[in-house]
Symmetry: C3
């Protein structure tokens, strides 16, 4: 989980010279003040929420392109809703299917979309570093949001998790947060760890079978636990990761059943944590694999609030990135 060559020096790429958000590619390297600005901005949109959602005209006349090289209806939907609630026009492009039809290269696709005066690319890609690559090659007036790239990062997911934690718990410093599951393959976990550490969380633990823990994970400033009994002990926040069945193929774990036996979050296991613990999950959940339905649907779960806050956080990131000088460029 060291920075890879294609994603080196992310902060300079993500920020304008005066330190404002330009692209949102990864949490790594972003200053705490900027993360807090995202949370504060999202707060203003979350207060618009509720059954009587109102649209705001902040991005009227802007065109946002969902550039999805990897299918994800769920993630695309949240970005599409966030963009529409900001009054932007949205273009959904499944590039995996479309661009290869006529052999157009990725860079030519980007140049063409830019020439159409689109303002933002929301990029989802199976390869780590794809969003950085696109941001490095994008025209000056274009903004890029990483909606998940390979095993690397999923920064809007991490920020909606931070938003949820702050809304419920207030401050990060006194908290003990346990992230449980396939840490090794998870872009969500990577981004969460960076966000939690940047925001000053007192204690961050990763809890996984040894085969699903990255080597030297402690260098990120987290405690590694192979036993959920100790990993969940007195936790204020438990973040369960989704078991990516398609990435497992029996190589790392004997069976889903055994995984649930050893790491699945049950009511019994939940009692190790603090009484006011909250349980989070990026969704969609595998009931009975990484989490028991009684926990997922129980009083400690804030899983659906995460979904709600996800719209507000994406509205925040989009409006901040498009508010930094695209008119003048």
């Amino acid at each position: 989980m060291k920075p890879q060559s294609p994603v080196a020096r992310p902060a300079s790429l993500q920020l304008t010279p005066d330190g404002r958000l330009r692209h949102f590619l990864s949490i790594e390297g972003l200053p705490r003040a900027l993360l807090e600005q995202i949370l504060d901005t999202a707060e203003s949109f979350a207060n618009l929420g509720g059954p009587a959602v109102k649209k705001v005209p902040l991005l009227r006349g802007k065109t946002i392109v969902n550039l999805f090289f990897e299918a994800s209806t769920r993630t695309r939907t949240t970005f599409e809703l966030a963009a529409k609630r900001l009054s932007a026009d949205v273009l959904n492009l499944n590039i995996g299917a479309a661009a290869t039809v006529k052999g157009e290269t990725l860079l030519d696709t980007l140049r063409n979309l830019e020439a159409m005066h689109t303002d933002m690319f929301v990029v989802r890609h199976a390869d780590s570093g794809a969003a950085h690559f696109i941001a490095r090659h994008a025209a000056p007036h274009v903004r890029v949001i990483n909606a998940g790239d390979g095993r690397h990062a999923h920064p809007t997911q991490a920020m909606l998790d931070m938003f949820t934690i702050r809304r419920v718990k207030g401050a990060f410093e006194p908290l003990c947060v346990a992230i449980v599951g396939d840490i090794l393959h998870s872009r969500v976990a990577r981004s969460q760890i960076h966000a939690l550490k940047t925001l000053g969380t007192g204690c961050v633990r990763v809890v996984a079978p040894r085969t699903l823990l990255p080597a030297e994970v402690e260098t990120l400033g987290v405690e590694a636990h192979v036993d959920p009994e100790t990993g969940l002990e007195e936790a204020d926040v438990i973040i369960m990761l989704r078991l990516q069945r398609e990435r497992m193929k029996g190589a790392f774990l004997p069976s889903e059943h055994e995984y649930f036996q050893r790491f699945g979050l049950t009511e019994e296991r939940l009692r190790r944590a603090r009484p006011d613990v909250i349980v989070m999950h990026p969704g969609p959940i595998n009931r009975g694999v990484e989490i028991d339905s009684r926990v997922a649907d129980g009083p400690r779960s804030v899983i659906l609030r995460q979904v709600t806050y996800g719209i507000a956080v994406r509205m925040a990131v989009m409006s901040m990135a498009l508010g930094t000088g695209t008119d003048a460029s």
Copy 2:
């Protein structure tokens, strides 16, 4: 055609405590006054129509999700247009393809969409009772419209048919309406019969080969005819049903050709009806199977007016359901 267990007590589910429209799932059990309110509301939108369609801002800021578990471009298009003309944001989800990719369950999908502050689900599903199931499990602020569920109901289709009849004929009491075709398998016919009876239609006939007539269909208050010569006699309105070839598979009928010979609506057969009879069809028509092109395109046909009125009726149902207290819930 008795009410099935999953759809029992539909009225209480469809109405608010003070009797206003909450969900629109089936015609069965709805009071006549409510059906007339739908027709009156649609009238106000139909007058907006014509080449210079104007949008109305009634649902600005609302998000309507087309939840299609069964593909139907045609039906989805009418709901999408109706929603856009009410200034709502529309999200098209082909759930059959998307939700199963990651094994998300239906209820988890619903919970997630609700958490994104969506306001209405337009549901199309191959299983009878699916829309009722979703309405029973939906959050209080969410409204559900049935866009066709299995063999059960297609209530917006029935209401656009009623709207067409009322616009041309004025009142229902003096009319004799003949529904011709595969009554047994048709959700459209079910909903039409309930609507016609509720609105006080003087005479409702179903006309079909015996194998395509439900047992005890007369208990619904209709006359059953196996001979179109008597079934069409002096009819004011003829509603042809679409022959669902995919549901037939030779089990009920020897061939399309023979079906047309026995039940197809020809100009000759049309002469059995009253001179000012109107001919209706839910579309898309099978030319030369259930209806002759000269009749479909002839002066008695109001088939395309049905399509036009379909937008107004869907605008009416959507705005009525979203006007009943979703802000306060």
Copy 3:
């Protein structure tokens, strides 16, 4: 390249009785003043462009249907963006897939869409004459734009090329324009030749291997060259065509490599032209097949400006066609 029977007398179909744009189906037969009006109208939209694109409310309340019988994400995207920037509602229909599902005929599909009070069909079809056919059968209030039909025409592409030429070069009369590539199969080339001739271009050349030149191409008023050395000589504008690999199948050319050797636009070959020559291409380009990357990305290339201007030209055509009396029809 003579007019085919299905597209005879295009001008009378395309214009209103008082000579304004009704449908935009082909350049052939349109008067010079109308082409110049399109360019002038596009100029007003191009000035809206740039990073701070603003939407204009010209088509608010109008519904534009992208009727694509042939997949083309790129072309659909440009029309979708143009329509949205005019504040129209857009409906994307992949008719190839949808309409055949239930065996609905093309004319029934059109009648249904018209009955839904849609205002414009943007038609893409693999058959020559398809857009004309639809325009001839469309309801009086509906407008049709040809977005490419078989080998016949692609008039919005030709007009954005004209717009690009006029923006850079000013006037058409003094220019020598060379169109290079598969003239025989290219709807783009057909439309460009008609546009250039109508606008009074001094010299129009087609440059291609003999097997890719239509018989009697000179009757269109162009010079035919089989040798790029003479074909590019002193050219002010070079328009490269895309090599349609899928249409070639080895019948006309031995290999892509040999094609590039003989006709590919390299920096060396470019020196035959005038120093201020501009290089155009309808995109997407096949790098190293019809054009060298150094030329495509070099200082003489205006390929991306073509993409930008394409939005403005499509906005012009859409707003002109929908401004001619659809309210009164």
